[in-house]
């Protein structure tokens, strides 16, 4: 029967309809769609790489080997993932409320600046023991990031200023601000960086314990990873198990309902922006104290805040999934440094985000195939 109708071509054998999903899809479904979107993105990326004269298979093989090949590069991958975890957490909490904080980059930089000021001003002398130094730097970094988040939050709550533009503009201001201090005040002999921090201001790294555990030799993974994981767990509890988290989610899903329920939206805008900024600032602190060990523009303003946006979206704003997604992106950034042409990692990030957003359609709609009979 079906065959004859197909041959007749008067009526196609089946029809494809798209209709909204009325019920929740099964739990594995969103993960499968996200995974499929990632695969499609990598294929599209490969096509574009070959257009630009590269070899996609070699590029991807290189990414895999240069980021997960052995324990040493895996450690480097985790080091790259650490700032992304914190930046993505920062984005996720704001996005959860449909508050588009695109300024994690600037808040990250201000966090690095705030933490560095403790060392360079100097607020604490170089001989201060690490156990005091690090917590003070953490507080300073988070405070500086929170201030940078407060400004757009306040403007949004008070004057209804579009937070996308204001947070983005503040990114550029933050870079200029950091440059001023690096070039004008804390420059080391006229170079474009501050003096190196004393070791007491460094986050502990695995390689320091190589004497006790020989396997740790040369591993640069630092305490920032633990900070990031702890922050992710705390944030998970705030979002899914606390009253405040419930308010944030409700405002994001249905601001009108939230308003009728008596939730103070304006106050929440300011608090969430400050929390978001503080998390990004913590990321900046971790990077400057764990990896760079000095205030320097290029390694700090390296786009972690923007990668955080993609990672947050990839993880569907779930703080725990962010950890895994960040490691993927850490790998991409680490391996991407040697890939030619040099814009490839950035382009792949863009393609991944495009595919992820397009794939959301599959979560909201389902495709129904009708057989010919009616």
């Amino acid at each position: 029967m079906a065959e004859s109708t197909a041959l007749n071509k008067k009526r196609s054998p089946f029809r494809i309809r798209v209709e909204p999903r009325l019920s929740e899809p099964p739990a594995w479904y969103p993960a499968a769609v996200t995974f499929a979107a990632l695969i499609v993105a990598l294929i599209l990326g490969g096509v574009l790489i070959s257009f630009a004269g590269g070899d996609p298979i070699r590029s991807y093989q290189h990414i895999a080997k240069a980021s997960f090949g052995d324990i040493g590069v895996l450690s480097d991958t985790i080091v790259k993932a650490t700032p992304i975890i914190l930046a993505a957490l920062a984005c996720s909490v704001a996005f959860r409320m449909k508050l588009w904080n695109i300024g994690a980059e600037g808040q990250f930089i201000m966090g690095a600046f705030g933490a560095s000021a403790i060392v360079l001003a100097p607020v604490l002398p170089a001989e201060t023991p690490r156990i005091i130094f690090i917590p003070v730097m953490i507080i300073a970094g988070m405070a500086a990031g929170a201030v940078w988040g407060f400004i757009p939050g306040y403007l949004k709550a008070k004057f209804n200023v579009n937070e996308i533009i204001s947070t983005l503009m503040l990114n550029y201001v933050a870079v200029a601000w950091m440059n001023f201090w690096i070039f004008g005040v804390w420059t080391e002999g006229g170079f474009q960086m501050s003096p190196k921090f004393p070791q007491t201001a460094w986050l502990p790294r695995l390689l320091e314990y190589a004497k006790t555990f020989p396997a740790f030799r040369g591993l640069t993974t630092h305490l920032g990873l633990v900070i990031g994981i702890v922050a992710a767990v705390i944030l998970w509890f705030i979002i899914f198990r606390s009253r405040w988290g419930y308010e944030i989610r409700l405002i994001g899903d249905n601001p009108h309902a939230a308003q009728y329920a008596g939730i103070n939206i304006k106050q929440n805008i300011i608090w969430v922006m400050m929390l978001s900024g503080a998390l990004a600032g913590l990321g900046g602190m971790s990077e400057v104290s764990g990896v760079v060990h000095r205030l320097q523009t290029a390694p700090l303003a390296a786009g972690y805040g923007f990668t955080g946006i993609i990672v947050a979206w990839l993880a569907k704003l779930n703080p725990l999934v962010i950890i895994v997604a960040s490691i993927l992106f850490g790998a991409l950034i680490l391996a991407g440094r040697e890939i030619q042409p040099s814009g490839v990692p950035k382009m792949i990030q863009g393609i991944i985000l495009v595919c992820l957003i397009a794939s959301d359609f599959m979560l909201r709609y389902r495709i129904v195939i009708d057989r010919g009979e009616e």
Binding site: A52, I165, M169, Y172, F183, Q340, Q349, L353, L356, I357
Partner: protein, 322 residues
């Protein structure tokens, strides 16, 4: 410092913002917020420069830029119009994508040397007007004059023509427009394309006229985002958009030029003797954008002028409300 020279150069660099702002304005008037302006501008700047190097013809460069940026914009259009995804995230991803593509395809272009640029000329009679003639009509790029024409044309098109009426209807009340037989989906695709082409033109204006060359992401340096801010300041009106764009262009020029002279208003120029103070000058356009947003938002609240009512919402046939 000769202020007429600064303003003259300011008009030229303001033309970049003008094209991008008017383009975004068209897209938003149709109800589609496109945060991909920065990415589309980069794609435009890169493809204009690259095509001009390859062919030696800047006009081909301009056309490629507009076409390529227009095509890129259709990715956003498809995702938000057909797939009905969130416009904010999709626009962001377009910026990432555009930046990435232009970096990959623009690899090595920064060392490619000089290209033949678009012609500069003066308008015979108008250039004789004292001061204004020098600022507006003397030795400007042809694209600057295109900008002068675009502003009244865009205003007239939106406010006084039938397609313009349809455009506004699609952005304000798409279901009513649909009931009148206007194809909401096609209109939105079209105006996103227009926005993309103008963003591409803005990019080409940078790389072929205002500050020729390809400097990777620094080519645009956030001007796409400033343009989006300007649309809000302009309250979706092309004439206000022009005022904002030229004012910003002049500000950018002033910041560059203020660091040069030894004396400033008769005093030792602090920016000359302490070059690192220049970083505070660099902040100004961005801080100014925030200030402009505050002013625009307050005024909009007071006058109850809003964004196009359907801005940011996908149109779904048969759904109640918007």
């Amino acid at each position: 410092m000769d202020f007429t020279i600064i303003l003259q150069a300011g008009i030229a660099s303001g033309t970049v913002l003008l094209f991008a702002t008017i383009g975004e304005l068209f897209s938003e008037r149709a109800g589609v917020l496109n945060l991909g302006v920065e990415g589309m501008m980069l794609v435009g700047a890169m493809s204009a420069f690259s095509t001009t190097i390859a062919t030696g013809n800047p006009w081909l460069g301009v056309m490629t830029a507009m076409l390529f940026a227009g095509i890129i914009s259709q990715i956003h259009a498809y995702i938000v119009i057909t797939l009905q995804a969130d416009q904010v995230v999709s626009g962001l991803s377009l910026t990432f994508l555009g930046t990435g593509i232009s970096l990959v395809l623009g690899e090595g272009l920064s060392k490619a040397g000089t290209v033949s640029l678009l012609p500069n000329f003066s308008i015979p009679l108008l250039a004789q007007i004292p001061i204004l003639g020098k600022i507006f009509f003397t030795d400007q790029s042809i694209l600057v004059y295109v900008g002068y024409l675009l502003v009244p044309l865009a205003w007239f098109y939106i406010n006084r023509t039938r397609p313009g009426l349809h455009l506004r209807a699609v952005g304000e009340y798409p279901s009513a427009a649909d009931a009148l037989g206007i194809n909401v989906f096609r209109m939105r695709y079209f105006y996103v394309f227009v926005g993309g082409m103008l963003a591409g033109l803005a990019g080409a204006t940078i790389s072929l006229a205002v500050s020729p060359g390809w400097f990777s992401e620094l080519t645009t340096g956030g001007q796409g985002w400033i343009a989006i801010g300007l649309v809000i300041f302009a309250q979706w009106d092309p004439i206000r958009a022009a005022v904002g764009a030229y004012a910003f262009g002049a500000l950018r020029r002033l910041i560059l030029d203020i660091q040069g002279p030894l004396l400033l208003l008769g005093f030792d120029n602090p920016f000359y003797y302490n070059p690192y103070l220049g970083f505070f000058l660099q902040m100004l356009p961005y801080l100014f954008t925030v200030v402009v947003l505050v002013i625009g938002s307050r005024e909009a609240m007071r006058k109850r002028i809003g964004a196009p009512a359907a801005l940011g919402n996908p149109y779904i046939r048969g759904e109640r409300g918007k």
